[in-house]
């Protein structure tokens, strides 16, 4: 019961903050709603017994990436709003297609869940960080190293792109 209450509260918060992110007039407000959204998603991760992911989410997303966004929004401080002209009927047909896609997706999930009730797999053990670390450093060692190289490349690339002259 408590799980259900927590889930519905988190889900409502996540979806309403997401709507706020994509509808806010000012980009700064969007970034702030994005922080709140990420924190709620971290709460959901804790509910799903992924405590390590929750900590990573708070530290990397809410602490790092969002600060990057905030810096760029502040640097790109526009006098005039970026969205001066939007044709009202421009994306109507596309919106119809997308909403049909949502409907089909939800229907597929619902019928799948109805036809095959979720069997219970082996429960996750309590030592979440130990398990994730063991998987990262044994079975997924090569992807892990590739990811570190990717981050290095991204860092160098970002510096090269953002610097005025080298």
């Amino acid at each position: 019961m408590a799980e259900a209450v927590a889930f519905y509260i988190f889900a409502a918060l996540i979806l309403s903050f997401a709507v706020a992110v994509i509808t806010a007039k000012s980009a700064v407000h969007s970034v702030l709603f994005l922080v709140a959204d990420f924190l709620c998603v971290a709460g959901l991760y804790v509910m799903m017994q992924a405590q390590f992911l929750a900590v990573i989410q708070v530290m990397v997303y809410a602490g790092g990436i969002v600060v990057l966004y905030l810096f760029v929004v502040m640097l790109v401080n526009l006098k005039k709003p970026a969205e001066a002209y939007v044709h009202p009927r421009r994306l109507g047909r596309l919106g119809l297609v997308m909403s049909l896609a949502v409907f089909a997706e939800l229907a597929a999930i619902a019928t799948y869940g109805w036809l095959k009730p979720a069997g219970v797999g082996g429960a996750l053990e309590a030592k979440n960080i130990e398990q994730v670390g063991r998987a990262l450093y044994t079975d997924y060692l090569v992807p892990f190293e590739v990811a570190s190289v990717l981050l290095l490349v991204a860092m160098v690339g970002a510096i090269v792109l953002a610097k005025r002259e080298l």
Partner: protein, 100 residues
Amino acid sequence: MITQTHYLVLSAALFMLGIVGVLTRRNIIIIFMSMELMLNAVNINLIAFSQQLGNVVGQVFAVFVICVAAAEAAVGLGIILAFYRNKETVNIDEMNLMRW
């Protein structure tokens, strides 16, 4: 009782909100934020399956998704800054340098 279906529906809804943001907004920074929302939806999906199957591999993939998202944000925002320095705009309707 919260089943996996609940998480999947939440994830689908969050993903679609991200797509709506990408399609309807003209400010490229907000489009990037909508992409972050979509990546979060993917992570929720991965972790829901990880929990249901009792397998920690889904969480490992979520770590990789977060890593790629960080790299994408850094490079993308660098590109936005470089573009803004040249053209003084973040409106994607005016970003047509590579249009033939």
